[in-house]
Every structure is written in structure tokens, then in C-alpha cells.
Symmetry: C2
Subunit: 122 residues, 2 copies
DNA sequence: ACCTTCTTCAACTGATTGGTTGAATAACCG
DNA sequence: CGGTTATTCAACCAATCAGTTGAAGAAGGT
């Protein structure tokens, strides 16, 4: 797993990390703040953040001892682009398939209302 | 990792699986056909398909000895919904932030470009 | 029936993951 | 300087993952 798209998908495959991302859409937060609601150690959350950071989903700055975490929402576009691209292709294919089926209907229906489709000449 | 959203993200975190999904947008395919381009055993591809299937991304039917794999593109919507939801929230937040910054600019701008951040009132 | 084709199941392996605890680092507060 | 707070690093562990090989199932072809 080395490309960014893979890292982003993998990062969001974990419910805890998704929840952190969700909360970060509301406000930046420190590691400690992020860790508070979960029943795991701060270190574990720190590791989760590292995953999100390596995926490019968050960045961290420095404020005294704190390391505020900031969401980088642009990375979402990477996924959206991939998803939409292939969903569109899939949908186009369904349309082609529909056309083929319609053609078959027409051809192989030598008179006779063969159930559903009516395909009267046109 | 037990909810479907997690499974879908996890499934797509693998480049091989993404590529399989991409190819399935063009046409249904058998396990063997799907395996052909990759430098791994057919069994490995069969496992990948199981992951995609458990994520709800593909279904399999039966055609003689073959098990044609079919893409179920609707599941994409699950991800798109999640992503868009939080991206929208993040964007709204940026707008709020912009407003706040603009307000601060106006208020605290008695001369002085103090570059970075500055504790107001301190 | 046999044989071939396509696919999956089972067992094993090495790498990665998500968690732990304990020690180290970084920066502030007196 | 010493102490406190926030965070990370390091080592370890159990579970999962992605791959392997070998055997078993399932369905047709002859």
C-alpha cells in the first residue's frame, strides 16, 4: 500500500479514525482532546493521527506543548474523483446493457405480446 | 471492522481490488478472467473477490463452472454520502472561519501586520 | 463413468495493524 | 533550575491480511 489513494481509503476504513475526521470538521483539536471520548490510550490515538497524517487527511502545527490537528478536506476530492469516475462508467454500461436488451426484445419477439415489454415497431 | 462503510473503504484500500472494480465497470468477468492480468495466483484473486463481496461491492452468480462477478455500484453511494457530508461540514467551517478572520481583521487592525497569530487582548 | 475446467477451502507464512505499557522529548510554569 | 503537561518513540503482543501451495467441490464435455 503505497499510493495516496490507498492510504486515504485505508485511513478511513477505521471507525475511530472516521469519527476523528468527523469531529475535525467542526474544529481543530489537540491529540488529548481527540483522545478523550475514546476508551483507548492517548498513544493509540497518536498512532491513528499518524495514519491520517500520512494519508494527507490532517496536518499538525505547534502551539506550545500542544500539536493542534487540522483537517485537510481537499484530499476528499481524490476519493470522490475515483469513485465518481467508475460509478459513471458503471452507469454508462447499464445504459448500454439496457439498449442491448431492448434490441434483443425487439428482434426475438416475433409478434405475440411476450409478457412485459410491448415493442410495437416504432 | 464490522460496519459496511468500514468494509467498503478497506476493500478499496487495495490497488489490486480497485483495479478489479475498475475493470468490472466495463463488463462482468469470471474469477479466472479477473486473475489473468495480475501476477498472483487465482486463489489470491478469489480472496480479493471475497473481500469485495463482503463489502457489498460485487455479487456472483453461477454459469456452469463459472462464477461471473458483477459490480454493484450502488454501494459507492454509501461512501459518497459520508465523504460529501463531512466535506460540506468542513467547508462550512471554513466559511465561518473566514467570517471570523474578517471580523478580527476589522476589529484588531489598528495598524501593524503582526504576521502570524496573536493572542487577542494579551 | 472419466477427465477437464473453474473455483473455493484449508493450512501455513511473513508483514501489517491496533492496541498496550514505559521511557523519552518538547515546551511551558514557577 | 525542577516540575508539570502534552505528545511521541520503542518494544512488545494478539489479531488480521495478503500471499503461497495442495486438495477438494462443482459442473460440463465426451
Amino acid at each position: 500500500m503505497d499510493d495516496q489513494l490507498s492510504r486515504v481509503f485505508a485511513a478511513l476504513a477505521d471507525p475511530t479514525r472516521r469519527d476523528m475526521v468527523a469531529r475535525l470538521t467542526e474544529a481543530d483539536a489537540t491529540v488529548g482532546e481527540l483522545a478523550a471520548p475514546y476508551d483507548v490510550s492517548v498513544q493509540a490515538v497518536s498512532k491513528h493521527l499518524k495514519v491520517l497524517e500520512e494519508a494527507g487527511l490532517v496536518t499538525r502545527s505547534r502551539d506550545a506543548q500542544r500539536r493542534p490537528v487540522h483537517l485537510e478536506a481537499e484530499v476528499f476530492d481524490l476519493m470522490t474523483k475515483w469513485i465518481e469516475r467508475y460509478r459513471r462508467r458503471a452507469e454508462e454500461r447499464y445504459q448500454r446493457l439496457d439498449a442491448v436488451l431492448a434490441a434483443m426484445q425487439e428482434k426475438e419477439s416475433p409478434a405475440r405480446g411476450t409478457s412485459t415489454k410491448e415493442g410495437p415497431a416504432s
